[in-house]
Amino acid sequence: MALLLDVKSISKSFGGLKAVSDASLSVDEGKIVSLIGPNGAGKTTLFAIISGFLGADSGRVFLNNENITGMKPHRICDKGMVRTFQITQPFASLSTLENIMVGAYKNTSLKAKAKQKATEVAELVGMTHLLNTEANSLTVAGRKRLELARALATDPKLLLLDEVMAGLNPSEIDEIVNIIKIIRDSGVTIFLIEHVMKAVVNLSDYSYVLNDGVLIAHGTPKQIANDPLVIEAYLGQGAAKAMTKNTPTKAKASKTSKKGGKS
Amino acid sequence: MMSYTVSMMPAAVMNGLMYGSIYALVALGLTLIYGVLHIINFAHGALLMLALYAAFFLYSILGIDPYLGILIVVPGSFIFGYVLYRFMIGKLAHGKDQNILLITLGLSIVFENMAMLFFSADQRTVNLSYSFETVDLGFVLLSIPKLISFFASLVICFLLWMLMSMTDLGKAIRAVAKERQGARLVGIDVDKIFAATYGIGIACLGAAGCLLLPIFYVDPYTGNLFVIIAFTIVVLGGMGSIVGALIGGFIIGITESVGGLILGESLGQIGISVIFILILMFRPNGLFGGKT
């Protein structure tokens, strides 16, 4: 399995605050990998560094064995990696179609071709009926999809999704999860930041857990769920110990509530 | 030629300090408006021009010495600024940064051409009985009006500082500058504070106009001269910093004066634009500024 993204020892401080400490991770081609962790753990900072929006203090990022550390985002996009934003960034007064076309224009200079590609991508994410709607008028779910579609239109090899499910209701989440699976099946590797545990478990082949800027665990979702460090990161110090001390029935109850609770 | 430059240097520096204190006053208004309202008041130069005319007509029609005229022009300017913001700028801009820029630009066009229409393009100055008297400091001669203007602006800057730090209004303004929503939550009428702040900024222009008229002149386009100067000072000193405006004012005043001495009248002006461009490029927060 080819290593698509290789992140080596990234550190970043803001003034005295160490946002990311010596974080290393990798993403295999064709997989869906997730980056999870409590709020403020440094996930978006790490994303920003990987995608070229922020400079790291130390460490390197490799895409397809090429050193992309410090490259500007548009060049990284040329290399095949594109990101979406946690707070959606639509081209507000343009229509859905025009928004997606901007992404499509990366690979063609012809308006007709861009339009065609954009229409195809819109169909893939289920936005065909919204093509002429102004981005401003879309719902949160619509904007999230638009963000996804726009990035997809650039024909990336690696898609970085930053909390694409935040603000969605359960049925919308199910839809997006499906769409992401379809995208993965079409050959795109996906690396996502997510809080919604249900999605993480359903989608990821592999997960990394970040807490306070440090990668505290990684593995398959099953392995992660049972990792005491991870439990403590989400539920507080001593939680893991407290949970193992409980009777079997009580432990089971707290485990399921942990899975469904964090969103 | 060199020795002329060297011998005139002290005079140039003093001259720069004198004008610098008035520039500081102009910049103070601008930085205050930016610091609190977060808007770039493009009409600043034109409003200074109006203040100059106000001082001029108080003298030419009513015979009031500009230095006394401050007592009338400053409150008048405050009211004018308050009303202008409350009923025009604040209402029409709908909150977008570039809208305010264009609206204040529009206002400056209106003011400039109204002045042209009503006052004609003639340059106006005032010649007071003591306009040409000087004080001999030994190494340099200082004209009395410049000296009065210098000290008066320092006093006004001090009064402004007292207003901002010791009065309730000042505290409210600072609260709004720091945390708009929070200020609303504790019951401060933010819209009124905005208008009051704008009013104070224009009041600074009122004072500056009275202090400037005896040592300068006014015509409808005088405002344009001061737009770049004022913005350079504010950017140099740091947007929103009162200390920065003061120090920046002196730096720019001296730069202008010394630059004029070394490079000649016309080319000397270029120093200000160059400083402005360089600061924006390399240190947009200025000397004392916080966030831009």
Binding site: H74 | L102, V110, F276, I277
Partner: protein, 318 residues
């Protein structure tokens, strides 16, 4: 491929504009139209950077003045005819655009800061022109009246009319090209959201600089036109803030980011001026009205007059 109604209308108006001088012998009206086209042309140059790319310049006159000086000095000092000189003017304008664009955009200046720095650059150029000998300093440069195509000078108003008509048509074609090209879509993306544009592979810095260079080149040509028509150039004329303002004014009034916005805005503003001049004999009045119109448009009609028209017709356009 059917030609839309609006396309027929545009063709019709163009034909009308071309044959107009045959019907109207009155130089005055031809001259007014010439000025309208000239201002619309300059407005369109502002529109490229301001309307489409969203970067509001307050110093657009710097390209005009530099171009004017370039072709004028080449002619008066070196004898090179303006028909060649205009290309140097275009180049000069583009280079100024490159320098100013790099200084501003490379260092992340946006919004009001960008507007202010363009103002400072224009002011700087004015001071330099005022102090240099070979630009004639404060005295300025007088141009000779030697009408010929080579000199881009004409005996009657008709010649200048066609020249300015040609310029404005070219500027409209440039805008039309922008609206259907990838580059234009990228500029619009930058206007709407720079970070998102960058993330999608658009080289934001390069695109902005390219846009300001186009604006600069267009402005430079306008400078040559002006110099050859009015036969006098000095720093206050070459670098006047009033022209910077007029450029943005006609575009905002007509509709930023539209193909015909600058032309519509130019027509409206100049008609208003002429009417005002008839009603009240005073110099500053039209400009006062300009200022008010700017304020009102920004406050109530931010998409300009064309936006109003589109709203009425129901179409979203583009």
């Amino acid at each position: 491929m059917a030609i839309s109604i609006s396309r027929w209308v545009q063709m019709g108006l163009l034909v009308l504009a071309v044959v107009l001088p045959l019907a109207i012998q009155n130089n005055f009206y031809l001259d007014v139209l010439t000025i309208i086209f000239f201002t619309a042309y300059l407005g369109q140059s502002w529109n490229i950077l301001g309307g489409y790319a969203g970067q509001f310049s307050f110093g657009g006159v710097m390209f005009f003045g530099t171009g004017a000086y370039a072709s004028t000095i080449l002619w008066t000092t070196y004898g090179i005819p303006p028909i060649y000189g205009v290309f140097v003017a275009i180049l000069a304008g583009a280079i100024v655009g490159l320098i100013v664009g790099y200084a501003s955009f490379r260092y992340g200046l946006r919004g009001s800061y960008f507007a202010l720095i363009t103002l400072a650059f224009a002011e700087m150029l004015r001071i330099i022109a005022n102090s240099l000998e070979f630009t004639g300093g404060g005295v300025g440069i007088f141009l000779n009246f030697e009408p010929s195509i080579m000199n881009l000078q004409f005996i009657n108003a008709r010649g200048f009319y066609y020249l300015s008509l040609g310029m404005v048509v070219i500027s409209i074609i440039i805008a039309m090209w922008l609206e259907r090209s990838r580059f234009g879509a990228q500029l619009i993306a930058i206007r709407e959201n720079e970070d998102a544009a960058e993330a999608l592979g658009i080289n934001v810095l390069r695109s902005k600089i390219l846009a300001i260079m186009i604006m600069g080149g267009m402005g430079g040509a306008a400078g040559t036109f002006y110099a050859q028509k009015y036969l006098y150039l000095d720093p206050p004329i070459a670098y006047s803030i009033a022209l910077s303002v007029e450029m943005l004014l006609v575009t905002i009034v007509g509709g930023m980011g539209t193909v015909f916005g600058p032309l519509v805005g130019s027509f409206v503003l100049h008609i208003v001026t002429e009417v005002a001049k008839h009603l009240i004999e005073s110099p500053g009045l039209s400009l006062i009205v300009y200022g008010f119109i700017l304020i009102l448009i920004i406050a109530y009609l931010p998409n300009g007059l064309i936006g109003l028209f589109k709203g009425l017709s129901g179409k979203r356009g583009k």
